[in-house]
Amino acid sequence: MIRVLAIAGLAVLVASPSFAASSVCSSAPASKFQPKTKLESMLKGAGMSVKLIKTEKGCYEVYAVDKAGKKVNVAYNAETLKKVANPEAGEQ
């Protein structure tokens, strides 16, 4: 039991920095952000139907449906509009 807990604890410790590394939301002030409308037209251009774009710290979290009808939940750096690996990157 103790061994299992120890391994689980280690796994969390090892995993946390890698999650942090993938969280590349912008740390710039909101005035430096690209407008949401730009991201929206970019997504529409890719054939996505955008349901919602939330601003979460330096990220835009997108809820959309792609061309194939698949629900997509992704985040973009609000300053560069580059895709972020973890859709919840701005929430942590």
Binding site: K51, L52, K54, Y63, A64, V65, K71, N73, N86, P87, E88, E91, Q92
Partner: protein
Amino acid sequence: MAATDMAPNGGNPVRVWDPFVRIFHWGLAASFLVAYLTRHGGGTLHYWAGGAAAALILLRVIWGILGTRYARFSQFVRSPLTIIGYLRAIIVGNEARYVGHNPAGGAMIVALMLAMLATATTGYLQTTDQFFGDEGMQKLHDLLGNGLLLLVLGHLAGVAVASLRHRENLVGSMITGRKRPPAPGDVP
């Protein structure tokens, strides 16, 4: 058998919580814990934790009608007046010991089940075409989830108070299903 299950008067512990009630209880507790820990992002684990919680509650509702004596709603769901009266008695310090759920505990069970079901439903709805990316539904789900967390904390506090007041281990009883037999003045 743990010493806490033994009656001071030497009576044998009585069976109170049947196996379904106990599996339901710990299954729901685990579902809540997993769902709470995975609350950011609504991933697969979060989805299935909510699904498990909803399924457990629906089975519990059936068991609350058809189940064993202490599992039935008719045994532990009481009127608001009785509940308020019992809460007052707790404050004064002269509340009766119940072998089954006491009136406050019964009210908490109903509140927990309703809040959990509402949280699971609003979570599920966000996976449907109609409510995917619906900010209102997301906010409602968050609100219900936080309310549920408060209820769970209240439930833990209630179990602690009742265990201390009546000198019994209620957590242990939910594992073994057994409780100390009723003494004079207890509600059997």
